[in-house]
């Protein structure tokens, strides 16, 4: 047993270990960050003004940012980095950033409402380890900018690349304007396929409107709805109806309008395959309202994409997806393990994996998922089958899954990368 004195001593001892070599540079670094934030705020203001001018003038030839001068792709460790890279249909373009170091290097991932792509190389054959904001640790043998990870919007922190020998380097790419194939309207794109599911139809509400409708053909299987709703004050809700019947609702609180199809959502059957159904998305005053609100919402982005058929595997009374996307890569279901209720300890794999944990238990359930002995996710449910998804399992990491409250079967599904 430890005592509180032990705890205090431990904290004091480690606090005393903190040297402060960056003290002199810190003030300048903070002022630099302040300047970056200000520039961003001014850019937003300028953008709004530009939109107003465009509306007033009607037609203005505005240079696309694809035609802007492209920053030169950096040469790092004697290698020319690619100018552009592709991930899930999106194009990313170098912003000129490159960092290198012996055994280790890193960059600060600034907060952004856009994704950022990072790629790496090394000066000799080695396995690199990439620490990604969000507590993910990726392993990669693919060097020379042949592998990458995409950090999603609104995720920030430090991204580092390390190897057991030699020098390593990392480069940054930001989203280019070129939209992937799919449905694009008002700067928002529903890709023509997400995690192997074809796009059946999508719509984005026109400016100054709070509803929109699209007709889709029922697939032979379940369909998934991916609503988008952002840019209004808290309290508003988004509702999706199918042939007039309320089907999906939720808060209008998306943090980004980037790639709304990937956010997933709700799956259901649309009825007989081949039948045309009308899907309508509307902004409502709250989750219980079924009528569109009226008002001026200049920043509203409202839409819905419908994907299907959804390929799923049945496990313990519920389902898991046969394919997922994570880190800018596609992943395919390769292994499932079930339990009647006893904790499951599962060995590691030679490659990185993504896992889902699902349970088909009614009543109050608390589940936990542990990777390498460290609890990474817990989930609670009270209404029936539920699960955790997007669980990161680095190479060689053993996992443990168990239900802390509630008794019944559960399962773990593992996915491995398609493009590695």
């Amino acid at each position: 047993m430890n005592t509180l004195s032990d705890l205090r001593r431990t904290l004091d001892r480690h606090a005393d270990d903190v040297a402060d070599p960056a003290a002199v540079a810190r003030t300048a670094a903070v002022h630099h960050s302040v300047a970056v934030v200000r520039r961003r705020r001014r850019a937003v203001g300028t953008g709004v003004l530009a939109l107003v001018l465009l509306a007033a003038v009607g037609t203005v030839l505005w240079p696309r940012s694809d035609q802007d001068p492209v920053p030169a792709a950096p040469v790092v460790l004697g290698e020319q980095a690619p100018t552009t890279m592709k991930s899930l249909g999106y194009t990313y373009r170098t912003d000129g950033t490159a960092e290198s170091g012996t055994l280790h290097t890193g960059v600060v991932v600034a907060k952004s409402d856009q994704p950022q792509l990072y790629s790496w190389t090394a000066d000799r054959a080695t396995e690199v380890t990439v620490h990604v904001p969000g507590d993910q640790v990726w392993s990669s043998l693919a060097l020379h900018f042949r592998d990458f990870v995409v950090v999603p919007p609104n995720t920030w922190g430090r991204l580092s690349v390390s190897a057991s020998q030699g020098r390593v380097a990392v480069t940054r790419y930001t989203l280019a304007d070129a939209a992937p194939s799919g449905y694009t309207s008002q700067g928002v794109t529903y890709r023509d396929a997400v995690a192997g599911r074809p796009l059946l139809g999508a719509t984005i509400a026109a400016p100054s409107t709070t509803q929109s409708t699209v007709s889709v053909v029922s697939p032979a299987g379940r369909a998934e709805f991916s609503p988008l709703c952002t840019g209004v004050p808290a309290g508003y809700a988004v509702l999706v109806t199918v042939n007039g019947r309320a089907t999906v609702s939720g808060d209008c609180s998306d943090q980004t309008s980037f790639d709304p199809g990937a956010a997933g959502g709700y799956t259901t059957r649309l009825g007989r395959a081949g039948r045309a159904v009308s899907v309508r998305v509307l902004l409502t005053k709250g989750p219980k309202s079924t009528t569109p609100v009226t008002g001026d919402f200049p920043h509203l982005r409202l839409g819905v994409g419908v994907y299907g058929p959804v390929d799923q595997e049945h496990l313990v009374g519920t389902t898991v997806d046969s394919a997922v996307e994570l880190g800018g890569h596609p992943w395919t279901l390769t292994e499932t393990r079930s339990s009647r209720g006893e904790p499951r300890r599962l060995p590691g794999s030679a490659v990185d994996r993504v896992a889902s944990m699902v349970w088909g238990v009614k009543g109050n359930v608390e589940a936990s998922f542990t990777v390498h002995g460290t609890p990474t996710q817990v989930g609670e449910s009270s209404t029936g089958p539920a699960g955790l998804s997007g669980l990161w399992v680095p190479a060689n990491a053993a996992v443990e899954a168990h239900l802390d409250h509630g008794k019944g079967p559960f399962a773990v599904a593992f996915y491995t990368r398609d493009d590695y």
Partner: protein
């Protein structure tokens, strides 16, 4: 009398900010090492601690002129809450939660490496431990920093001590002693 202006790295001149900028710079120079220690105890990583501190200081800059009273307390509040909410995001349906289940303890009487054990604590729980047992804040002060109730601080502290295998009896004795001595712990 000479009036000074501040030119930020973005090139914007802000005549009215000169005093605020000077006091901010003085504050960073004087107090950032102490804040860095707190950041390190929260993150257990020197690079992340520096990132966290710079993020908190940047946020504090924009509110600097509005800070009424002791700025360190305010910046520490930003620091702790930035840490507690860092990387909290929705991605592929993750359902993050702050309450982790109790782990099976093979031998509850055996001392454990507290530093390693702290790494297994959820972020807010780790923040409570640092505020209470390193910063020596009272429960009310910790609740104020974290923007939660005193009851939440109590329950988070209790759960954290259990996970760190701190003997509840010793913890209770320590609290009682501290209270009797008027110690803010």
């Amino acid at each position: 009398m000479t009036t000074t202006s501040v030119v930020d790295p973005g090139g914007r001149v802000e005549p009215g900010d000169s005093t605020a900028a000077a006091t901010f710079d003085q504050f960073v120079a004087a107090r950032s090492r102490a804040l860095l220690r707190t950041a390190y105890l929260l993150t257990h990583d020197h690079a992340l601690a520096e990132d966290l501190l710079q993020t908190a200081l940047t946020k504090a800059w924009f509110a600097w002129k509005r800070i009424d009273g002791e700025p360190e307390r305010y910046v520490r509040k930003i620091l702790v809450n930035t840490y507690a909410t860092w990387w909290r995001r929705k991605w592929n349906g993750e359902q993050p939660t702050e309450a982790l289940p109790e782990r099976v303890v093979e031998d509850a009487t055996r001392p454990t490496d507290l530093w390693t054990a702290m790494e297994r604590l959820p972020r807010r729980m780790r923040a409570v431990v640092v505020l209470r047992y390193f910063e020596d804040l009272t429960e009310a002060q910790a609740a104020d920093v974290l923007g939660c109730s005193i009851g939440t601080v109590k329950s988070q502290t209790s759960k954290a001590l259990a996970k760190l295998r701190i003997d509840p009896a010793l913890a209770a004795t320590d609290h009682a002693d501290a209270d009797a001595e008027g110690d803010p712990r």
